[in-house]
């Protein structure tokens, strides 16, 4: 079915809106120093930190988010509405407020953090684990909402048949429910990873900014940007590096899963 022509024009405007800023970024790069900026030890450290913390955060989101998504999808409409609203909290909170919230709970003098510190001498801020926590906090809604939506539309017919055939509840979940929504899970995971990778505000406030430990790429870019002269060029280089890495990983993830299931 062909669409009204005006729709294509509007879509083109939207695409331009997304693509042109990136084009602007590329033109700002200082090509002479780009290579050395890209592969300076500091930038590679920040990139590696970003990648592995985002990966861990995504795993945390899967472990926590999948059960929650299944529960919401199989709840009554009213309860589901309430739960969905709660899940949206990190989306609605500005990331810095999220960081502040995490500090007030898990900081050294926080609600839970204080007794934990007094008992074990361990506090979460300034550790890489804190980065994972901050990223997981902001990225969880993406996974839950995507998976829950897929579950709701797929309905319970297959699960009911499976249980009459003799499958217990865990077996139904593992052999019927989850495989049927695999594309939704893949989409949610990709979104979740991308969000975790790009997270700045909550990480800056909750985990701090120490190279190699908590200075993820976004923080490195911001710090470089706040510097004078050469460091601003390296901010552009870092931004490009992060953009390309994210695009490769997220694009790769989606393409692979979408082929596999059909």
């Amino acid at each position: 079915m062909t669409l009204p022509r005006g729709l294509y024009v509007a879509a083109l405007v939207a695409l331009a809106f997304l693509v042109l800023p990136v084009v602007g970024l590329v033109t700002r790069a200082h090509w002479s120093t780009l290579w050395s900026d890209l592969f300076a030890p500091a930038s590679l450290t920040a990139l590696w930190l970003s990648l592995w913390t985002a990966a861990c955060a995504t795993i945390v989101c899967l472990v926590l988010g999948l059960p929650l998504a299944v529960v919401i999808a199989r709840s009554t409409t009213r309860l589901a509405g309430v739960l969905r609203t709660i899940v949206l909290i990190p989306l609605v909170l500005p990331p810095m407020v999220g960081g502040l919230a995490l500090l007030s709970l898990l900081g050294r003098v926080g609600l839970l953090g204080k007794p934990i510190f007094q008992f074990s001498g361990f506090s979460l801020p300034y550790t890489s684990a804190a980065v994972v926590v901050a990223q997981a906090f902001v990225a969880l809604p993406f996974l839950v909402i995507t998976v829950e939506g897929t579950l709701r539309t797929s309905g319970i017919g297959h699960e009911q048949i499976a249980s009459t055939l003799g499958a217990g509840r865990w077996r139904v979940l593992g052999t019927v429910t989850i495989p049927l929504i695999a594309p939704g899970i893949a989409a949610g995971t990709a979104l979740c990873f991308a969000r975790a990778l790009g997270e700045f505000g909550a990480t800056a406030l909750f985990a701090g900014n120490a190279p190699g430990v908590t200075q993820t790429m976004p923080l490195a870019i911001y710090t470089a940007f706040n510097g004078v002269g050469i460091t601003q060029d390296s901010a552009v280089a870092l931004s490009l590096l992060l953009l390309v890495s994210a695009a490769v990983i997220v694009g790769g993830l989606r393409a692979w899963r979408e082929d596999a299931v059909r």
Partner: protein, 269 residues
């Protein structure tokens, strides 16, 4: 490809609306100026003065602005924009509208001068570093070398910003190798972390300790007097209100202005 007439009109209308929306937004928020200041029924000439000042100048410059406006009611001052000096420099170079520029070190003014956007600058105050600790100094810190104690959470400014450059000089002068828990992009964040107990100690300005109202104790590290940040102030070249700008700068450099700065803990320029 000819669009059907209705679709073309609709698209054109939508794009025009979008363009208007965007220019409208940028015009109103491009500068820090909100149309305030011209209050109290007096028909004031000229727009409110736009001042960009380093984060560490917050308390003192608010006081300076108040004093200035009382003495010169014809020159209203818009709410002053505070941020890290580099961040402000980037905004100015990027086209932000500004009258008066007051940064925490000479180096940050560089890009602005290089872009031809700032006139001659004058040093108006100086600041030295202090070790900030919670009241009562619970960890018993006495000097810079104490900061390297294992398990101690120390927060400093990132080397890219003025207070960070000073910190690095201070530490290397004293021969201390410090691995901080975090490097913040402006000094206010360091202050906040020590104040709310997330960090055991931080390296901040003397003025920050003075302004903390008892929430911080300050320890003067050895060699602090040798690492001095000289604060420059300048009138912007493209200032919308040059007369008011010059008047303000003169006020800051006057004995009245200097008294106010001294009250906040700044040293002589």
């Amino acid at each position: 490809m000819r669009l059907p007439r209705r679709a073309a009109t609709a698209t054109a209308a939508a794009l025009t609306a979008l363009a208007l929306l965007l220019t409208g937004c940028s015009a109103s928020s491009g500068s820090a100026a909100t149309v305030s200041g011209a209050s109290a029924g007096k028909a004031s000439p000229g727009k409110p003065l736009i001042v960009f000042a380093a984060a560490s100048l917050q308390g003192s410059f608010d006081a300076l602005a108040k004093s200035f406006q009382k003495a010169n009611p014809e020159y209203p001052v818009a709410p002053i924009r505070y941020d890290g000096s580099q961040a402000l420099a980037t905004q100015i170079v990027g086209g932000a509208s500004v009258d008066v520029i007051a940064f925490a070190d000479q180096q940050s003014l560089g890009p602005v001068t290089k872009a031809g956007l700032a006139g001659k600058d004058t040093s108006f105050a100086s600041n030295t570093l202090r070790i900030a600790v919670p009241p009562g100094n619970p960890k018993g810190i006495r000097d810079l070398s104490d900061l390297t104690r294992p398990g101690l959470k120390v927060v400093i400014c990132a080397p890219q910003v003025p207070c960070g450059t000073a910190t690095q000089t201070l530490l290397s002068n004293a021969g201390v190798q410090l691995t901080p828990a975090s490097e913040e992009t402006n000094v206010t964040s360091v202050v906040t972390r020590v104040e709310n107990g997330e960090a055991d100690a931080g390296l901040v300005y003397a003025t920050d300790v003075a302004a903390s109202g008892g929430k911080l104790d300050g320890i003067t590290p050895a060699g602090a007097g040798k690492v001095v940040n000289s604060y420059p102030i300048a009138v912007a070249n493209k200032a919308p209100s040059p007369k008011a700008a010059h008047a303000f700068v003169s006020f800051v450099l006057s004995s009245a202005g200097q008294r106010i700065l001294a009250r906040f803990g700044f040293g002589k320029p």
